[in-house]
Subunit: 280 residues, 2 copies
């Protein structure tokens, strides 16, 4: 049987489960001591932590989103822990899409190798990318109809406006709106694009939703970064009441530093799911 595309997977999860995505960002210093006592290597600690979080939350999430920086910081051990994490999700929960938060983008020739690394070697369903080099450069990502290409538009950080908010002369619009419009009107020819807008900017989120129609929006910044669920859902939902991949990381995966960390991550996820349902 042909594997479902990223778009098919995420739409199934939205309708069957909800819109919460768990960011698998295993900051080693924050991982509960019990796991470090039980496992002898960094690779085993990272993987055991992720596996327990995944097994405790898999029926509640629309996607998992490992950020590759947290793995690369540990060299080969981190790379193996990431590969095993992706393999575990694919083996045990094949219906859940995996978004590799890697924020890549190079010139076209080079992106072919990122495509190979992320989609074919690792087996992720989607990747986050920077828009700065333009559509022509990232065409190798866009050509993969089976995968998701999630482009940074309005990022969650406090200083993200330095360039993203610059008004463009032609239309008087801020740059991030021009980026959103180009993605919707041109980059998304294969129907495999999504955009990133931080939950920390609900007004801008509503504006982007108006520009892009029912395209998916990946929304980081809930929880530790201070984004508000109610404002986010009201601003970001699509015409069917779906369309969002609402990502929380630290507030879920580090909900407890004790031996109950996995159950605590489940409770934190359930809390966010309830908050979203209360708004919809």
């Amino acid at each position: 049987m042909k594997e479902a595309t990223f778009t098919e997977k995420i739409q199934n999860r939205w309708s069957q489960v909800g819109m919460i995505c768990v960011g698998l960002d295993p900051d080693f210093a924050e991982i509960p001591a019990v796991l470090k006592a039980e496992n002898s290597s960094i690779e085993e600690v990272l993987f055991a932590f992720n596996r327990e979080i995944i097994d405790a939350t898999a029926d509640l999430v629309c996607a998992y989103k490992p950020n590759i920086a947290f793995y690369e910081a540990h060299g080969e051990a981190g790379a193996r822990a990431l590969a095993r994490t992706v393999a575990h999700i694919r083996d045990a929960y094949a219906e859940i899409p995996i978004i590799l938060d890697a924020k890549r983008a190079d010139i076209g020739n080079t992106n072919l190798y990122y495509v190979k690394a992320v989609f074919d070697e690792l087996g992720a369903d989607a990747i986050t990318i920077h828009p700065y080099l333009g559509k022509e450069a990232v065409q190798p990502f866009l050509d993969r109809k089976d995968k998701g290409v999630i482009v940074l538009v309005k990022t969650s950080n406090s200083g993200g406006g330095e360039f993203q908010n610059l008004k463009v002369a032609d239309s008087g619009e801020p740059l991030y709106k021009v980026v959103a419009r180009n993605i919707a009107n041109s980059w998304n020819a294969n129907g495999n694009c999504s955009v990133v807008v931080g939950a920390t900017y609900p007004e801008e989120l509503a504006e982007v939703r108006t520009i892009i129609g029912d395209m998916p929006i990946l929304i980081p910044g809930i929880g530790a970064q201070g984004g508000d669920i109610q404002k986010t859902v009201m601003a970001g939902k699509d015409s069917k009441g779906f369309g969002m991949i609402i990502s929380a990381s630290r507030s879920i995966i580090f909900a407890s530093s004790g031996a109950d960390f996995a159950q605590a991550s489940r409770k934190a996820t359930e809390g966010l799911v309830s908050e979203i349902q209360a708004v919809l």
Copy 2:
């Protein structure tokens, strides 16, 4: 003895050697058959290829620039080949700075892990980054006074103008000039920033040089991408006749597909060095 900073290393190489940088982008399909016959694993082929290119060109170059995509495409084997390549340069040619062409950038908290991965684990002297998230996000890179932070400004690809050339309302200038100015006036407080401008855009290169003063410019796009050496040097040199890291990859490392590939890479590098000297 304290290790020299990226800035010290590159300035020494400019005054003692020249301004050519070799891009270590070992596209596996292009690697000479002789190396594939002699070595039994992808890791060994990639590393043997790089080592021979390095040993043949080390007295001619100001820097080496491995692009990480070509290694990530091979998973763990690629990661080991990259680590061994960096270690070989550091061991045998400690005076030559290593630029990891990784085009990273995430929010601040996450960039701390890229800093650890690239500077501390791998041991690179500099990294290329995207500007889209603003200075506040990339502060963890900027804080490393000992390392180089090389920011994309005007990229070499044909479609790079999609956003980079958009005119900004305040000044009527294209975005890439605003990016260049912010880097020079604000991001470069520690004197460790450089910018990327493609050799395929010599007029824009001259404009950026005017904006940034004597900051270093990494200039890809020579050779296979069609950039012209004479125009590049005239447009890009700083007030002292230095200031450029002129990078060529395919035209040097794949100068021959035969057993003489290393000697051919040396000849190709010597050719570029002569071309530059003829202009200066």
